[in-house]
């Protein structure tokens, strides 16, 4: 098993009745890299995410996640909460899913549920105020504070998450995912709805996560500014089939990719094609 690989997808097929959303997909995401999944709407990107994070069980194929220490997890056989807590895969959602009525701090503490639950002796010790639990909670709050600082939301720690502006909600969702100590972070369109400044900020942040926090990133994104700039590897899907794979430069020149993208009426996406045409 190659320790440079973090996620190995082999012959993955996901069908819903007669509809094949992802068809015989194989690719490898490498450790400490940012792997981007791109493709027109309906290409099967989010379906793939749902398979990786256990929300869907793939029809055929295998998903293997490998930790640094060599431990390997068959993700297609695990329920989603075990993928999060044991395989350490975290994700964000296309339409942000925060705990809107809870404060930012509480959101980040729920992400550390597993560790806190154990420290509270599965509630029994915590109920009687054990010192071990108090310490664990203080640590959890420190970690939450660290991530709130990282995403620039420390000053709003005690506000409900639902009152944050959209861009800040996206950042909070990433911070919350990071609080689960992931080895692989799956981001579903993190730059959607962000302005230019914000997406430049996001680029810096994602690179920092990759380099400083030892977390590999799998990214679905439509914003080509983000994808081309930060990705180490790009996998292009169209109608559930992989049509290209390579570095940003390679993908940009690939005629199949250009064809797939020119087929859709989307100014932002045509931009890629335009850039690639000599």
């Amino acid at each position: 098993m190659n320790p440079a690989q973090i996620l190995v997808v082999e012959h993955l097929t996901m069908g819903f009745g007669g509809l094949i959303a992802v068809s015989d997909l194989s690719f490898v995401a490498r450790r400490r890299e940012i792997t981007a999944l791109i493709g027109p709407n309906g290409a099967g990107k989010t379906t793939l995410f749902n398979c990786i994070t256990g929300f869907y069980k793939p029809t055929v194929g295998s998903l293997r996640l490998v930790h640094q220490d060599g431990a390997s997890f068959m993700l297609e056989r695990m329920p989603e909460f075990r993928i999060a807590r044991e395989a350490h895969v975290a994700r964000t959602f296309q339409n942000v899913r925060l705990f809107a009525g809870m404060t930012l701090l509480e959101n980040l503490l729920v992400a550390q549920h597993r560790a806190l639950m154990r420290a509270s002796g599965f509630t029994v010790l915590g109920l009687f105020g054990s010192r071990g639990y108090a310490r664990a909670e203080a640590d959890a709050i420190d970690k939450a504070r660290y991530w709130l600082d990282r995403v620039g939301l420390a000053s709003r720690a005690d506000d409900p998450a639902g009152t944050l502006p959209y861009g800040a909600q996206r950042r909070l969702e990433i911070a919350r995912a990071m609080c689960t100590d992931p080895v692989l972070l799956c981001l579903d369109e993190p730059a959607a709805g962000l302005n230019n400044n914000e997406s430049a900020e996001l680029n810096r942040f994602l690179r920092a996560i990759r380099d400083e926090n030892d977390t590999s990133i799998l990214l679905i994104e439509h914003d080509m500014g983000v994808v081309m700039e930060i990705s180490d590897l790009i996998v292009v899907l169209d109608h559930g089939v992989k049509i290209a794979e390579g570095t940003p430069d390679e993908v940009r020149r690939d005629p199949k990719v250009i064809a797939a993208y020119l087929g859709v009426e989307d100014a932002e996406l045509e931009h890629v094609g335009a850039e690639a045409t000599p």
Binding site: F55, A84, F93, M102, E106, V110, H113, S120, I141, P160
Partner: protein, 440 residues
């Protein structure tokens, strides 16, 4: 509150009249058969149709005038009574609200002193405390975990029958039976929890409603064990840690050198249920600050996100059901020992609805709100007992008023379980509740 701008006056009046006309029309349509027509039994036994168009006209006129005035004066304010309360009063109320919980607790503790002589008020206080406790228990399931449970009375029944049967067949004392009743009710909670793990919102409500009925029907039909519709009588009464409340030589009064009074037992029962309710309250407040409590609230806010963060939603839901049921079971055991007699009639859907109404009216998730709501609802029931005919009418009107003016319950803010710098209450508008569907 009239608008200053004189020119818009006629316009506003026309608009208001139009709106009032529509309201009056709806009222006419509703009441034309309900009030306008009346059937009486004639001397030969046949029905005689009489008309009451006068009363109908009065009702429609009242609706018209009411709607007209509302449209004219409250148009800008929307539906808000807040404007009518002077700011000064609001400030004082806000200052006092911090002490409300303590005030309520002190009041609860001195009730027997205030009402020692009156068996009626003591019984009412016991009833309120029982429903407060049931409300606290259901609050875990509905308020915190956001699982709408319409069959909560099932656990109350399981607790009551467990206590009655264990006490009768095995002769165990109240203090041993009480935890056993709670544990058995918790098992019933797990039993309900398993099949409904995947359900939310309306579907969950229907299944829990059915579960409540199933338990009641089992109690009704398992004659050998439960006595069927005859119920169980002669349930042992509680003793004061071994001292029975009797006039006998070894009784509570004689041992303590007091004059025997039947009120002793009632006062003891009152403090017992208040202690149980406070225990439930302490437990719930404590759990809210623990990871399990935060997981419940996160589950209410967004189940999918919970699963993505490694929260095992199965065990989280089951613990909510089991713990909520356990407190229902304690309350049931208390009910059985207080009444001395139980039958399936005490555990109808009406009880579930009442407890749920208390939780919703109190403000989902708020402990103080539940206690106040229990006092208001049951106290209100008793207050209007004299106007027997109009009791339900007044009650219904009060419920409508609450739904309009305080749709999020009496205490509509959520207090965060943990804070970094300052604890800021969260407005109800952003908090999810059991009635909001989370799309999958």
């Amino acid at each position: 509150m009239l608008r200053d701008n004189k020119q818009s006056q006629p316009h506003a009046i026309v608009a208001a009249a139009k709106e009032a006309g529509i309201s009056a029309l709806i009222a006419f349509g509703l009441f034309v058969t309900l009030i306008g027509l009346r059937t009486d039994q004639g001397p030969t036994g046949a029905l005689i149709l009489t008309t009451r168009f006068g009363a109908l006209a009065t009702i429609v006129a009242v609706v018209f005038v009411g709607a007209f005035l509302r449209a004219l004066f409250w148009r800008d304010a929307g539906i808000s009574l807040g404007r009518l309360v002077p700011d000064r009063v609001k400030e004082v109320a806000a200052g006092l609200s911090g002490y409300a919980a303590i005030g309520f607790l002190v009041l609860a503790l001195i009730v027997p002193i205030l009402a020692y002589a009156s068996r009626y008020y003591l019984d009412l206080a016991i009833l309120i405390a029982t429903y407060t406790m049931l409300g606290f228990g259901l609050n875990i399931v509905v308020g915190l975990a956001g699982l709408l449970d319409l069959g909560y009375v099932a656990f109350y029944a399981v607790g009551a029958y467990s206590y009655a049967l264990i006490a009768q067949y095995f002769g165990l004392s109240f203090w041993i039976c009480l935890p056993l009743a709670g544990i058995l009710a918790a098992f019933a909670g797990l039993l309900l929890g398993f099949p409904v793990l995947r359900l939310r919102g309306d579907y969950l409500a229907i299944v829990t409603l059915g579960f409540g009925e199933i338990i009641r029907l089992i109690l009704l039909n398992w004659q050998d064990l439960t006595g069927g519709p005859n119920g169980i009588s002669g349930i042992p009464r509680p003793s004061f840690f071994g001292l029975p409340f009797t006039a006998a030589e070894n009784g509570f009064a004689a041992t303590l050198g007091l004059k025997y009074s039947p009120a002793h037992r009632v006062v003891f029962l009152y403090y017992l249920i208040v202690a149980l309710a406070l225990l439930t309250n302490w437990f719930t407040l404590r759990l809210r600050r623990l990871p399990i409590g935060r997981a419940w609230e996160a589950l209410r806010e967004d189940e999918i996100a919970c699963r993505a963060l490694g929260v095992n939603t199965t065990t989280t839901k089951l613990t909510a059901f089991a713990l909520g049921a356990m407190f229902g079971g304690f309350a049931g055991a208390f009910f059985a020992t207080r009444q001395g007699f139980i039958s399936p009639e005490s555990f109808t859907f009406g009880e579930s609805a009442l407890v749920l109404a208390i939780v919703v009216l109190g403000g989902m998730g708020s402990q103080l709100g539940v206690a106040v709501a229990a006092a208001v609802m049951l106290g209100g029931f008793e207050l209007f007992r004299e106007f027997s005919q109009y009791r339900m009418l007044v009650f219904g009107a009060a419920m409508v008023a609450i739904v309009i003016y305080r749709p999020r319950g009496l205490v509509s803010t959520r207090t965060p379980s943990v804070f970094l710098r300052e604890r800021k209450d969260i407005p109800a508008a952003v908090v999810q509740n059991a009635r909001t569907e989370t799309p999958a």
